[in-house]
């Protein structure tokens, strides 16, 4: 199995499209950081304006943590697309290339083939999120330095002292890996159904966008189905940035998202085991 995962990772990282996600993050994160370094103080002042009427702030709030938090917030919609790009190709790519025939006539079980590909996809997702984390926090620290994290929630303005921040980011990024893995699993499922990777990519993105729109529109009918949309749980990373951290919400979301991953993967496995390879 480890050999298989190794092979899948090797194949994955020999493909150009695998790097699109990393390149996109490598380009986007510094751009956001530069933009914030220019405009950030103004924005920060604007955000805290009403509180500044009565309170005096001292400290470096425009720091790598705040910027990482903002990046996390703004890229949450975009990273799924990057994840899908590679995940949608995992199985369909072999169908397109015709390499299924070569791969599946080897003495390996289909279970192992699918599982190793899936795990390679999860590892890819993990690395992508970690890359985001490293760039956000790493370059952020170089540009802005560290400090306290100021977070504006609708219920309160929260400031976390610097020794109370990193575990929150670590948790949030791990959470992000889990929620992005749902996207991976979904794209992977679609990838098992078709013979080219465009379909899975578009379908996955369409589902995510549709779910997000439904989540965003505040209509009663939608409110009822909202708990059943996995996208409703993807934002729960921010509950680590509550004071105290809203672990109940986080765990619930982790539970729901993990269940999605398991179910989506099981369906993929079932489909793939029964699939006739005709390409």
């Amino acid at each position: 199995m480890i050999t298989l995962i190794g092979i899948e990772l090797y194949k994955l990282f020999k493909k150009w499209r695998t790097y699109i996600g990393f390149i996109a993050i490598t380009v986007l994160v510094p751009i956001i950081q530069i933009a914030i370094s220019i405009e950030g103080q103004k924005t920060l002042n604007f955000m805290t304006r009403s509180i500044q009427q009565s309170f005096l702030f001292v400290g470096n709030f425009l720091n790598s943590y705040l910027v990482s938090y903002l990046i996390m917030n703004s890229l949450y919609i975009h990273i799924p697309f990057l994840v899908t790009l590679a995940a949608g190709d995992l199985l369909a790519g072999e169908a397109t290339a015709g390499t299924y025939r070569m791969l599946l006539t080897r003495p390996v079980s289909r279970f192992n083939v699918v599982t190793s590909k899936f795990l390679a996809g999860i590892i890819y997702t993990f690395l992508l999120v970690m890359w985001l984390a490293v760039l956000s926090l790493g370059i952020g620290t170089l540009i802005f330095g560290t400090g306290e994290l100021i977070v504006m929630k609708s219920s309160a303005l929260i400031i976390f002292s610097r020794n109370d921040i990193l575990w929150r980011f670590a948790s949030a990024y791990i959470f992000a890996v889990i929620s992005m893995s749902v996207v991976t699993s979904l794209a992977f499922l679609f990838s098992s159904l078709v013979e080219n990777s465009i379909g899975p990519i578009i379908t996955t993105m369409a589902i995510i966008i549709a779910f997000i729109i439904i989540s965003a529109i505040d209509v009663n009918a939608f409110r009822i189905i909202k708990p059943y949309l996995f996208t409703s749980y993807m934002g729960a990373w921010s509950s680590f940035f509550d004071k105290p951290a809203d672990l109940e919400t986080a765990w619930k979301a982790i539970g729901v998202l993990s269940a999605h991953i398991i179910i989506l993967f099981s369906i993929t496995l079932y489909i793939f085991k029964k699939k006739d390879i005709l390409t």
Binding site: F55, L56, M152, S154, S155
Partner: protein, 229 residues
């Protein structure tokens, strides 16, 4: 400690009946404080405010007569503007009318309650009430009503053993702001509904400040206060 209690018990007896003229009382307070040309003090700030979830912070406050004040922190500090400057002059800016209200035992000490009303329309302050310990000429409590920012009270405690009786050892700032708008930025789309109705509610809060390690009259340079604000 024991000494301290004895002192507190004795204070009412030791105090001589003094003039009830509120202006004189307030001037005495100012005069007492004016011996402090400048100070530097470490502060520990603890906020108990519903809409501000902030850890306990440490900072250094620099003050210089008449009204220069500067706060610095290695990490960060957040404190109510009203709690920054406890100098009597800070509470009595501009022209005002002072009225003697009553005498009251406040926190075990006989105090004189004086109300001041600012003259003119410019001030946000509607009414300020002082609880003054006339024996030491120090303010024990201030209550301020404002037009826009609600009301707030400041309670000051002093350490009798410190060299400077006019410098408090702790301060409790309580406020009640009738309307407070927190812009909905930085917030996630899917935050629960309960938080939505928050913004327009009145907000109360308490801020605890503990002062320690006063360094008084060391001749702080003016430049210190110009660095940044």
């Amino acid at each position: 400690m024991k000494k301290f209690f004895i002192l507190i018990i004795l204070i009412p007896f030791l105090s001589f009946p003094q003039s009830k003229d509120p202006r004189i009382i307030l001037d005495n307070v100012k005069k007492t404080f004016s011996k402090i040309k400048d100070y530097e003090v470490s502060v520990d700030i603890k906020l108990d405010v519903s809409f501000l979830k902030v850890p306990e912070t440490h900072a250094t406050i620099y003050y210089k007569q008449p009204d220069k004040i500067y706060i610095a922190s290695k990490d960060f500090a957040l404190l109510p503007k009203g709690a920054l400057d406890f100098s009597p002059a800070g509470f009595m800016k501009g022209n005002y009318t002072a009225l003697f209200d009553r005498e009251e035992i406040y926190d075990g000490t006989k105090t004189v309650v004086i109300k001041t009303i600012p003259l003119g329309e410019s001030s946000d302050i509607v009414l300020t009430t002082f609880w003054i310990d006339p024996s030491k000429n120090i303010i024990r409590k201030v209550e301020v009503s404002t037009k826009v920012n609600g009301t707030f009270t400041i309670e000051l405690k002093y350490d009798a053993n410190s060299g400077y009786i006019q410098l408090p050892s702790s301060l409790v700032f309580k406020f009640n702001i009738s309307k407070l708008n927190i812009p909905k930025r930085f917030t996630n789309q899917d935050e629960s509904e309960q938080s939505k109705n928050y913004s327009k509610k009145s907000a109360t809060g308490t801020v605890y400040i503990v002062y320690s390690n006063y360094k008084v009259n060391r001749g702080l340079p003016d430049s210190l206060f110009n660095t940044k604000k």
